[in-house]
Every structure is written in structure tokens, then in C-alpha cells.
């Protein structure tokens, strides 16, 4: 029983953090916000060079063969630096779907190596999301087709879809409605296999967003702590006022108690634990709350500065507000959690945490 990360995992996290601090500063994020396409091919190339796009692609297909537990650290860093959706959708969610296909499946050989080398973007259209993120500049779309027996999985080239893009409050998000035609040529898994893959993709997508939310919360807290230490009012730094201290302490506490929940959820997904859906619902709810609290207290401590476009806080707040309802809104996850708690013989009490 050892519920923490290895030194290698922590070192990897630190190196990712340093890399993104240098390569993906808020100024780059502002550029992304202002462009139409909204993505930086240059950044994606550098990320691929670091091996990050191949994090969970099996070693046989050129990746690092890591899994959900590693992504629980990775997604926090991606959230901290507000890296846009296309990276995680491609390298984590889509890679997970494709790696779930039989080993001989042609789609694996076709796409997994291209995820690793950063040459392909893949958009994922799970039914829980009303729109497909980043469908406007993707190479491939993984899309569901509902039959009475379940959800088929289709791999659709970008050339075969029509895309309409909606604007989000988070200007780094690119939400698309997609028109397409399901057919034998696009189907890569039938209802039975497809349903399992889509179910797992939901958990992975929700976990991915949970990790980013807690990373966003940490970044907003750090920015707010910096501001409170520098900004003076009534002759002293505002961080000397007890009300400001308590705002900051509340955010810190929320983050500290969200992270272990995230890690337990990632471990559940990695081991296909029966409690996975409840644990991921739990993680999504508390990581979202930490992010909303960090935004609320962050703007309160920043005062009018936090209400401006030019102070970076706003970009992180908006991403937190948007992601909080992505891959299942609060209602969706509350309902999943309730179902698990209220089931007959639900394993709830002491000793059930790791069984």
C-alpha cells in the first residue's frame, strides 16, 4: 500500500512543468486566443519532441506506454498552463480509445505512431459533450453512432465532415457541431466493443478535465498569492489582511483535498476498479469546486485588476468556468455519485477506500 508517486514520476512531472513554463507562457495563450485556428503548431511540435504526445501510446507503437496515473500528474500541468484541448483529446483520450482496439487493428498502426510524432490531431465526439472540441483543425474524428445495441465507434477523416464552430467564453476552446455520415468504411468497432471504448473514454475525458481543473486552481492561487504579496492598500500588502489570508487559505485547502481524490480516481481507471465511475465523478466535482473557488477568491483578492482583460487571471478563470461543465456537468456527475452511494450494499464505510 503506497498511495503516492515514485520519484521518477515526480521528476517527470517537474520536467514537464519546467518545459511548459518556458514554452507556453501566458503570452502564448493570448496569441492562441486571438487567432482563428486557435492552436500553435510550433508548441505542438515541441511537445511531441519531449515525448509527451506519446505518453500513453504503447511502447510497441512508439510511445512511452504510461497510463492514467501518469496523466493525473500531466493533466495538472496542462491545466496549470492552460494548454488547449486538442493535445489532451489527441494524446490521452483518443490514444486511449485507439489503444483499446485489438492489437492487430489497422487503425492502431495508422494513427498511434502519428500521435507519438505529433503529426496528427484527433478530435473525439463523445455524446456527453454537445460539441466536438477542435474538430475544425483535426486530421481524424472519432465519432459515435448509436444503434439499439450500443455505440459504434467510427474513425472519420476530417475531409468527410462538415464543421460549424461555436465561440466559448474560454477563447482557447473551439467547439464544433459536426455533420457526418456513418458507414461501413468508417466503423472501427461494433456496438459491443464500441460501447466499452466509449464508456472508458468518458471516464478518461472526465478525469482529464478534473486534472486540468486542479491545475488551473493552483495557477490561480499562485497568481493571487503573488498579487497579494505585492499590492498595497492602507499602507501594507493586502496579504497582511486577515480576510485576504483566509481567502487564500481556503483555496489552498480545497486544492490539497482535491488532489488525492484525483489520484484515487486515476488509479481506479487504470485498474478498471468497480468504483471507477463514482471515483471519477467525485474527482470531477471536487476539482471543479477547487477551480471555481480559486476563481472566485482570485478575482476578489485581485480587486478591479482581476476584472480586466489585460491581467492574465481572466483567461484561467474562464477556462475553469468552461471546463467545469465539460465531459459531464455537475448534474451528470452528482447523479453518478448518488447512484453509487445509494445502491444496495454500496461499499461506503471504513476500509472500502482501497478495496
Amino acid at each position: 500500500m503506497e498511495f503516492t508517486f515514485t520519484q521518477d514520476q515526480m521528476a517527470f512531472r517537474d520536467s514537464v512543468s519546467r518545459f511548459l513554463m518556458t514554452e507556453a507562457p501566458p503570452e502564448l495563450l493570448r496569441e492562441v486566443w486571438d487567432t482563428d485556428a486557435g492552436r500553435s503548431p510550433e508548441l505542438r511540435r515541441k511537445i511531441a519532441e519531449q515525448g509527451l504526445t506519446g505518453l500513453s501510446v504503447p511502447e510497441a507503437e512508439g510511445g512511452l506506454g504510461l497510463g492514467d496515473i501518469d496523466w493525473a500528474l500531466m493533466t495538472q500541468e496542462l491545466g496549470y498552463y492552460a494548454i488547449p484541448d486538442s493535445l489532451t483529446d489527441t494524446a490521452y483520450v483518443a490514444a486511449g480509445i485507439l489503444a483499446g482496439l485489438p492489437e492487430s487493428h489497422a487503425a492502431r498502426a495508422q494513427w498511434l505512431p502519428r500521435i507519438v510524432d505529433g503529426s496528427a490531431r484527433i478530435a473525439v465526439g463523445h455524446p456527453v459533450n454537445p460539441w466536438v472540441a477542435d474538430a475544425h483543425l483535426t486530421d481524424l474524428l472519432l465519432l459515435p453512432h448509436a444503434t439499439s445495441a450500443g455505440l459504434e465507434l467510427h474513425a472519420v477523416p476530417a475531409s468527410a465532415v462538415q464543421v460549424h464552430t461555436e465561440r466559448s467564453i474560454d477563447a482557447s476552446r473551439r467547439l464544433c457541431s459536426v455533420q457526418w455520415q456513418a458507414g461501413d468504411a468508417t466503423r472501427i468497432a461494433d456496438e459491443a466493443a464500441g460501447q466499452l471504448l466509449w464508456d472508458e473514454a468518458l471516464e478518461r475525458g472526465a478525469l482529464c478535465v478534473a486534472g486540468q481543473l486542479v491545475g488551473l486552481a493552483q495557477h490561480m492561487l499562485d497568481m493571487t498569492v503573488d498579487y497579494a504579496g505585492q499590492r498595497k492598500q492602507f499602507g501594507k500588502p493586502i496579504g497582511a489582511f486577515q480576510a485576504v489570508k483566509h481567502h487564500l487559505a481556503d483555496v489552498f485547502t480545497a486544492i490539497e483535498f482535491a488532489k488525492p481524490v484525483l489520484y484515487r480516481a486515476a488509479a481506479a481507471l487504470a485498474t478498471k476498479d468497480a468504483s471507477t465511475s463514482a471515483r471519477i465523478a467525485h474527482a470531477k466535482l471536487v476539482c471543479g469546486e477547487a477551480a471555481l473557488l480559486a476563481a472566485h477568491k482570485g478575482i476578489q483578492v485581485h480587486g478591479a485588476m482581476g476584472y480586466t482583460w489585460e491581467v492574465d487571471l481572466q483567461m484561467f478563470m474562464k477556462r475553469a468556468w468552461a471546463l467545469n461543465a465539460a465531459w459531464g456537468d455537475r448534474a451528470f456527475h452528482q447523479e453518478r455519485l448518488s447512484a453509487a452511494l445509494l445502491a444496495d450494499k454500496a461499499p461506503l464505510g471504513p476500509g472500502a477506500t482501497f478495496h
Partner: protein, 384 residues
């Protein structure tokens, strides 16, 4: 306690309702934080003014209607029920006007008040400075007397819609050796005066809702001074009291939002009820809007009886700003994944309102400051 409106009040309500029905524009205006929208709103406000509804509580001879606060509450109820446009001349009507009425010379009143009432002049505020946010007494912009003029240098910030205004009222330090509340002077400054630079500040919603104003040897005639030299703090604070705060945020605004929230919940009840907290939040939001309304009517009645009002300005500020957040957060919870869509017809107003609500707990004295005021001035707790 008599909760019936008088026949005169009923007649007033009917008059307001008829006029609004006939005059409220059908097509929505652009945002009043854009030049186009500002001009649309200014013209609408001028039209309201022509009917006596703009500066409702001003005396009739100064361009108002001489209404009491009950009539004001009635007017607001009808106005918000109709989803009529945002009001764009509040700086002039609520902040500048009453101060001018109390401290202005007859010449100043004649020169400024009618033009303000008619929206010929639109006013920006000049209070905050980069290093004096909630601590207004830390003002450092200077206005040094030079013969018949003051020479103004310095910088003001967070001036709402100053990009579109043509006049500014504000406080400047006329005695460079003074501290805190002393040595400040209240000046009226035309924004096209030489030496003024206005830099817009984009708000959370991307609109240029505020401006930073730089003064570089701006010469302001002495006759643009309101009150005596060095008495600016007294002038600014004399009318900064409760009534202004009351008029700033009418309860009808929140009642209308609460009503729409209940409607939104009813429409989406099947999906909303998956989140068991939503219905409680809807109840709580409606109760809050109603409580704010009742507290307003109660305060107005006490004012009419000559009861002096103390902490209500601070409790009101805390209450409406937190209510406004609750109303919009609850709506976005109901809307779920759609809540992030900027252009969605159902989402749009809620999302804009949510962004706007973020400012509530911050501006006009942060809620932390308001809580200090309640504890110190009302409950007698010692200063730290």
C-alpha cells in the same frame, strides 16, 4: 403598516406602464460599453428624460419629476418588467446631480444640471487611482492653483465608460503637503481639455467598459470647482450615503432576474434536478431577491418617517452583490455544458450577467471593506 398603494401611486404606475409599452424599443441595443451602444442608450435616456422618467427623483425645475422613493420603486418595477434598456446616465443622475444641487453655485447649477438631465453632458467619475483602490483617501493626483486655474497632473482609473463621456467629476489633491482626507478639492473637468489622454481598459467581457485617464498640465478654471478648495472629501462624501446606494441597485432588477431564473429552471427541470442542489439554489435566489425588495421598501418607509439610516448601505452592498452572483451561477448550473457558449440565444444574457456580477463584490468599496464598516461603525468593534 399599510401595504396598499395609494390611488396616486397606482395612477403613477399606470402612467409609467403605458409610456414604457409605447416607447421601449423592440430591438435590443448594442452593449453600452461600445460606442454605438453607448449612443443608442444615451438617446434612449434622453427620451426617458423628456418624459420626466430619467432623473425621476430630481426636483421638477432641475429636469426631474420630484418623485419620492416609493414612486422610484414603482418606476423600477415597471421598467425591469419590460426588459427596458440599461441606464447609461447614472453617474450624472445619482452621483453628480445631488452633489451639484447641494454644493453648486446658482451659476453652476444653471450651467450643468439641465444639460445633465437631458444627457447633453455625460459624466465620468474621477475617484480611483492606481494606488488608491478601496482606500480613496490615498489620492495623489494634483490640482495646483495657478491664478484662475488649477493645473491638474496625475492619473485616474476604473472610470466607467469614460471613453464615451465628455465630462469628469473627481477629487484632486490641491494641497501637495496634505495627507489622507485633507487638502482634496472637487473639480469638474471637460474631457476634451488639452493634456488629457484617455486609455480604455478592457473588462472581463472584452468590452472597453472602463478607462484610465491621464492628466498632463490640464488647466481647469476655478469656476469648475464644486465647494471650497480643500473641502473635496466633504463634498464627495456628503451625498455618498445611503440613498445613493439604494438608487444604484434597484430591487426590481434582481426580482426580474429571479423570475427568469425560475422560468429557466421550470423549462429545464428534468435535467436540472439531476443536480440536487439546483432547486435549493433557485429557491434561495428567489428568496434573496424578494428579501432585498422588502428591505428596500422597509428602508424607504423608515426614511420617509425621518428615521436615520446607518449600516444599510453596507449590508445592501454585500447582499445584492452576493445575490447577483448566486442568480447567475445558478442559471449557468442549469444550462450545464451550454453555459460556456457566448453566442447561444438562451445562454447569452446569463453569461454576460455572470461576468458582470463578478465585479459586484469588488467595486464601490469591496465587500471586505463593507464588513469592516458594519463591524466597526455599527457593532462598535475596535479598528485593527
Amino acid at each position: 403598516m399599510d401595504l396598499r398603494y395609494t390611488p396616486a401611486q397606482q395612477a403613477f404606475r399606470a402612467e409609467v406602464r403605458d409610456w414604457l409599452r409605447a416607447n421601449v424599443p423592440q430591438a435590443p441595443f448594442a452593449s453600452y460599453d461600445t460606442r454605438e451602444g453607448f449612443e443608442q442608450h444615451r438617446q434612449w435616456e434622453a427620451k426617458l428624460s423628456g418624459a420626466g422618467f430619467s432623473s425621476l427623483t430630481w426636483p421638477k425645475d432641475l429636469g426631474g419629476r420630484g418623485s419620492d422613493l416609493i414612486e422610484w420603486l414603482i418606476f423600477e418595477e415597471e421598467y425591469w418588467s419590460m426588459d427596458a434598456p440599461q441606464r447609461v446616465n447614472q453617474n450624472g443622475i445619482l452621483l453628480f446631480g445631488p452633489t451639484m444641487m447641494e454644493f453648486g453655485t446658482p451659476e453652476q447649477k444653471a450651467r450643468f444640471l439641465p444639460r445633465t438631465a437631458r444627457c447633453d453632458d455625460m459624466w465620468a467619475q474621477g475617484w480611483s487611482e492606481p494606488n488608491a483602490g478601496s482606500d480613496m483617501a490615498a489620492i495623489s493626483s494634483k490640482a495646483i492653483r495657478d491664478g484662475d486655474h488649477y493645473v491638474v497632473n496625475g492619473q485616474k482609473i476604473w472610470s466607467t465608460r469614460a471613453v464615451f463621456a465628455n465630462w469628469l467629476f473627481g477629487l484632486f489633491r490641491s494641497d501637495p503637503n496634505s495627507f489622507r482626507h485633507h487638502g482634496l478639492t472637487y473639480l469638474l473637468v471637460p474631457l476634451d481639455a488639452p493634456g488629457i489622454t484617455i486609455r480604455p481598459i478592457r473588462a472581463l467581457n472584452g468590452k472597453e467598459a472602463f478607462a484610465e485617464i491621464f492628466f498632463d498640465d490640464v488647466r481647469v478654471p476655478v469656476q469648475n470647482r464644486l465647494g471650497d478648495e480643500g473641502q473635496g472629501w466633504h463634498v464627495a462624501m456628503a451625498t455618498a450615503g445611503f440613498e445613493r446606494g439604494l438608487l444604484l441597485r434597484s430591487p426590481a432588477r434582481y426580482q426580474r432576474t429571479a423570475q427568469k431564473l425560475v422560468q429557466l429552471y421550470r423549462k429545464h427541470q428534468a435535467t436540472a434536478d439531476r443536480d440536487p442542489g439546483i432547486r435549493e439554489a433557485v429557491n434561495r435566489a428567489w428568496m434573496g431577491a424578494e428579501a432585498y425588495t422588502l428591505a428596500s421598501y422597509h428602508t424607504v418607509a423608515k426614511l420617509a418617517r425621518g428615521v436615520s439610516i446607518g449600516a444599510e448601505a453596507s449590508t445592501n452592498k454585500i447582499f445584492w452583490s452576493e445575490l447577483d452572483l448566486l442568480l447567475h451561477e445558478t442559471a449557468l448550473r442549469i444550462l450545464g455544458a451550454r453555459a460556456e457558449l457566448v453566442d447561444d440565444a438562451e445562454t447569452h444574457d446569463w453569461l454576460e450577467g455572470f461576468l458582470f456580477a463578478q465585479a459586484g463584490p469588488i467595486y464601490a468599496g469591496s465587500n471586505e471593506i463593507q464588513r469592516n464598516i458594519i463591524a466597526e461603525r455599527v457593532l462598535g468593534m475596535p479598528k485593527a
